[in-house]
Symmetry: C3
Subunit: 317 residues, 3 copies
């Protein structure tokens, strides 16, 4: 059994973790990125492909694929769901994540406080963020202080999602749900570093939110405990709604306002790039495991344990 | 001899460090947080309590308690000082920390530059921060650019502490003062991540300063050397004033202004949550020890060495 | 063969790395900083000097010197270039770095997008940064939103370098170019933490840019791959222009704007202080080496391999 992924997003994290646990690995890599991945000593893992979609046509029956943020972008959720690929992650969760209404339903079921959604400008009372459908990395978003400001900024030909804008600190928390150990682990916290909202200086009032990278964050212990409860609640809510388990990593994306209220605005049902900041270990993973365990390695440990317990096939179906 | 603490603030840090050094541990934990601490593999350490105050009534004669920021909040300084608890840390320093005038006296004795305190609005010439007594996590603070602005913001029924507001970068530096090795070590630096002052966008001019977490920081080496000198000066100043030693961790809380002047506005005479960001090691602790040593482990190493040198009882009295 | 450096900037990083690889070390240290460096366990390495310039008169024929940012500041580029010191680093690159026109030529040859330079205010169309010659740590810089604003701020008696000011996120990427392994490695990314531009609050519009420290950053993997290509291009461009190799560390200093365009505004042909944040390892160095390798250790590994391959003398000449 090999572990594989496409060469983008968190592939270095995933492949190195699989190698550390002794797995054979496959990194599906486009020609222009081969020197980059080779510089990390991954030459033996590289399988050259012209486009990532090509993996849909390959025989990958002996490969556990670890999906990350580039899978949906480059291959598409529907093609992934229809494929025979053996994905480590819940395919039904991927469907809920892709659908805005289902996504919201799951967050509410988990008891999260979510920003209000508006169906028209008239309902807005306070700062608002306008998102465009399928925007990558926050491009095309804008924030307005109030209705008047929003009216000025809106492009009439664009169909926006209007959401309450929460003024507060960005906090992204990653979890690992272990089926073999029957527990939810808080893996790490991070902050997205975004252009040009995180510039030292800006001279206009329409910031962009394109993710450039991630910054490590450690949470106040009482707040971390709240996030732990949220992670557990998320797993349980999905089980209530779908009668299915969530294997492995997921992320809850939040803002904490001045009243210390946590608002959840998104989730990801798979590894996120924020975990890259915590290689070879986060404070939390180090305490849990007593040695350097980054997310890619955590995944590989779980897969090894699923194999030992003869549960892998059930998880991958 | 066991090492114990109450389950909050930096308990994960402390207990895991004690375990790494082979100590038996006790984590006094309220029922609702047991699943959280269990998820870090600490089930064997947990001693369930209904409230943290309960430890005052327990027989903890074989436990070295490591005080952290939640001790004073949940139990109270006076009760701690009057108790028979065997605290690793200087009780007299705790008293100085609790008393605003003594606190200021110690910082001045150490040669630190401190922000001016004003007794009335009339004295203010520049930005000012107004703090309320006993405010937790910066709640209720406000910053004003000048006297006029301050006048508008002040609630006449509140008794404020008015302090010069230093515009500059936040820098929190943690130290470990080792009695067995007779040296002061710089342990780490960090930045507090605060709501909603650290929001990407804010639409009002009354930010809040509630600590949400901490960010890792490494200082310019020449500035780090200045902070080292400050740490040594702090230990010496306390010795001059009280003829006592400071065992273990303390933190100096500063802002560096545009002239590179370091202003000290607070200190903590015990472990601070900022050290949580540096698990399993900070750059500085790694260089000092040549292996992963986080603050909880550093404390446990010191306690072991104090036991070996028959000095522990003297330190704990 | 010993490894040495002057006691400032990244000396802790360099000396500890050399010791970890088994080298004898020399740390040229002024008297007032001896207690600081001793607190890191470096007493055996310290060679006391009254001023760093003194090393020009010492017999250091058995020492490989690792130059860092304080060498030029305290000793001067010309004196270094004229000396017999055995510097690990390319002296010709040091000359190009010191000369503003050569510096720019190299960045353009490498294919980097660089901010426009203006020779007069009249050419300015947008935000501008005005730098003064030889300014240390960004002191004396200012930023103006447009020409009118710039006019107001300029001191007529100062000769400014006027440069397009790019609104975007700061990104500093460090590389290690290995001659023995014939590859360019991305070592790490960081963000400079600067006074008082990185203050939470400012009440004037003339921020300062004095570097206080560094913050760890991990880049989006696709952006990291772009930076990898830039590092390779930099090494190749220097080879085309000078027919010489770059041994060891260098840094490319950039801003990413809202269109995700990377602008390069500086480079350093030696270790930078930003690598201090990644002790004992960065995510990237950990993946490359499978164990904790910080920059000082990476340098020492290369020197050992150069000795084994009888290439060291050629590199140091």
């Amino acid at each position: 059994m090999k572990i594989g992924t496409i060469a983008s997003h968190s592939a270095l994290n995933i492949i190195s973790g699989a190698k550390a646990e002794g797995f054979h690995t496959q990194l599906y890599c486009r020609p222009n990125r081969i020197p980059f991945y080779k510089s990390f000593g991954l030459e033996d893992s590289i399988v050259e492909v012209d486009s990532f979609e090509q993996i849909l046509e390959m025989d990958l029956s002996d490969v556990v694929l670890i999906p990350h943020g580039s899978f949906v972008t480059y291959i598409g959720a529907q093609k992934l769901l229809n494929s025979d690929l053996r994905l480590f992650g819940n395919k039904e969760l991927l469907r809920w994540e892709e659908n805005r209404k289902l996504k919201s339903k799951l967050m509410v079921e988990a008891g999260f406080t979510v920003p209000k959604e508006y169906s028209s400008l008239g309902e807005i009372n306070g700062p608002v963020i306008a998102k465009t459908h399928g925007a990558a990395g926050g491009r095309g978003y804008f924030v307005a202080k109030n209705t008047d400001w929003a009216k000025e900024k809106m492009n009439p030909s664009v169909d926006y999602i209007l959401q309450e804008y929460i003024v507060g600190t960005k906090v992204f928390v990653t979890y690992f749900n272990s089926l073999t150990r029957n527990r939810t682990e808080v893996f790490s916290a991070d902050i997205r570093y975004e252009t040009d909202i995180d510039s030292s200086l800006r001279f206009n009032d329409e910031p962009t939110f394109t993710v450039i990278g991630n910054l490590p964050l450690v949470l106040r212990e009482s707040i971390l405990a709240e996030y732990f409860d949220m992670g557990v609640a998320f797993v349980e809510a999905f089980h209530r709604l779908c009668n299915q388990k969530i294997p492995g990593p997921f992320c809850i994306e939040t803002v904490i306002d001045r009243e210390q209220q946590i608002y959840t605005f998104e989730f990801s049902g798979r590894i996120v790039a924020g975990t890259n900041v915590w290689i070879p270990s986060s404070p939390y993973s180090y305490l849990q495991h007593g040695e350097p365990v980054w997310m890619g390695r955590r995944i590989a440990i779980e897969i090894r344990e699923l194999i030992e317990q003869n549960q892998l096939d059930e998880v991958l179906k």
